[in-house]
Symmetry: C2
Subunit: 362 residues, 2 copies
Amino acid sequence: MHEVFFESITKQLNVFITGVGNVGERLVEQIKQQKKYLKDNLKINLRVVGLSNSRTMIFNGGGISLKNWKEDLSNGEKASLEGFFENAKSLNLRNSIFVDVTANKDVAGLYEKYLRESIAVVACNKIACSSTFSNYKELKRLSLKYNAPFLFETNVGAGLPIIDTLGNLIASGDKVTSIQAVLSGSLNFVFNNFNDTTKFYDVVKQAAAEGYTEPDPRIDLSGVDVARKILILARESGVTMDLEDIENIPFLSKAGLESNSVDDFYQTLIDDESHYQSLFASAKAKDCQLKYVAKFDNGKASVSLQEIPKGHPFYNLEGSDNIVMFYTERYSQQPMIIKGAGAGADVTASGLFADIIRLGNN
Amino acid sequence: MHEVFFESITKQLNVFITGVGNVGERLVEQIKQQKKYLKDNLKINLRVVGLSNSRTMIFNGGGISLKNWKEDLSNGEKASLEGFFENAKSLNLRNSIFVDVTANKDVAGLYEKYLRESIAVVACNKIACSSTFSNYKELKRLSLKYNAPFLFETNVGAGLPIIDTLGNLIASGDKVTSIQAVLSGSLNFVFNNFNDTTKFYDVVKQAAAEGYTEPDPRIDLSGVDVARKILILARESGVTMDLEDIENIPFLSKAGLESNSVDDFYQTLIDDESHYQSLFASAKAKDCQLKYVAKFDNGKASVSLQEIPKGHPFYNLEGSDNIVMFYTERYSQQPMIIKGAGAGADVTASGLFADIIRLGNN
């Protein structure tokens, strides 16, 4: 008999999840719901062995029962990032995966330690991949050295298969010539709802209330969040680049850009309504839609608000949809396009789920 | 130290490729070109250990040198499908992968034997997956039983990440409600070039000359090829379906449908020019484009020529582009869309390449 692809017949994956807010909760529920499917159809035994929110954490090397996981977690021990890592390390389980469903800088700072213990990292948090190039490269190096995959599909476009697809293009020898993309669910929401019958302040407030923006909306509206995303795509295309290399042409008013607090910022939106109305009026006069666009071209990247004419693939982008157009040596005439909901708890959780499955799928 | 994800530091993948025509040749060249990249960046040692075309075959358990592979292959032993299998089996290499780059029924008939030897199968050939449901299911069962992955991303949309994406949606518990797609590069080419200044016969002849159609163009023009593709997507969505369950509304003339040979068929295209012109005239009168559309909805599937109005995502589909729209429980408002070149040797080879990498990627 031929040697088998893998030693064990069913592959056990041991998952440590930190951050069980909106997205993390959906991920745990998806795992609970799909446990049997994965065993029957993919021979993956997916177990949650550690769970943490910012207050408490629980562990069970034999697999946490997910029946009453919220209640069990609330009765857990006091949470600490180092404590979570130490527990994951000491459980010493084969095929351990640390899943970061936070947006926390300190959590991202611990990936190195996880990777050095050969614990795979799956991150929704995009801080690590958009940090300094040297840190990004070091995490890639450690991942390779310790045979611990480091996956972050949901950093761009939530559950859309953007980073995995880009990785496959590059691995097979294709070369990216240009990327054009709309990557912000929050900015889409804002500019799909802002017009001469609404007020910019009200629309941003509504976006915040519906959970489309970060608690500090300046991270979205300043373009920093989109700049991080195009940076990650540029890096995954094989380019050495840092956040400050990305040209960021702001659309915020001067006072908005210089505001010192979230409250101050919101006040500038009220004060500078005429500034925002003029952006809308300019686009309307040209029969254009306002879209916040990220570009990577010829080794250079930029983010800016653009007036998009009818017929352009970005023109009809609705809701919180994202779109990425990859022009490559092989997709040179027309781009490869991936489009769909780029925000939302369920689709982001399913993107994390896909990354986890990639670790057990063969 | 933590147990590592995999035993060996560099994972060796041993590839047996049968069919080195247009696509297969590009695949071998891509492997040759990317060998170092894969080792350095993914720790995959990708070796071609068997090669065959319809005339000759060569093997080298230590890895075939790809320097003069065409010449070496032409000096190989006489090819036979069973002989190729026996060699793959007797080499007995860990992580063996059989890659089928043919459109041959007899090759597809051997997958079962490969899988039973725990040899993974990567197929561009869509005959197996669009054969009887029981055969498709049996291959899935054997793949699982013998830990031998069976991947066929390029069966639909060449290098576009359609089947992998669908698989990840389903694995994470999403449910497909509807699929709408344009999946034929050849029919796109035909209907993008056919109008009231061209002749249908000439356009089909040109499509054949440029390699867009099968040697027998009826396989494309009858809709059978597209029906096979939507069948595969329906099955991968979790539905039990056979080819005869798909409603196929033909656009060919009666004589074209009933022709007994390729030559006879081409003659009907000349004779029935007015029939084809009337299809074009009807669409033109409504300001529509003719597109050959595959649908899967509510458990039912169909393929037919459609008059697509302006503004529809299919309207501007150029060249040999394919597009798939997935409506699911999670992508319910707007679909997830994947679009791009759906035919061509380089993009199809890179789709095969992606499947091979999936087997060594974690």
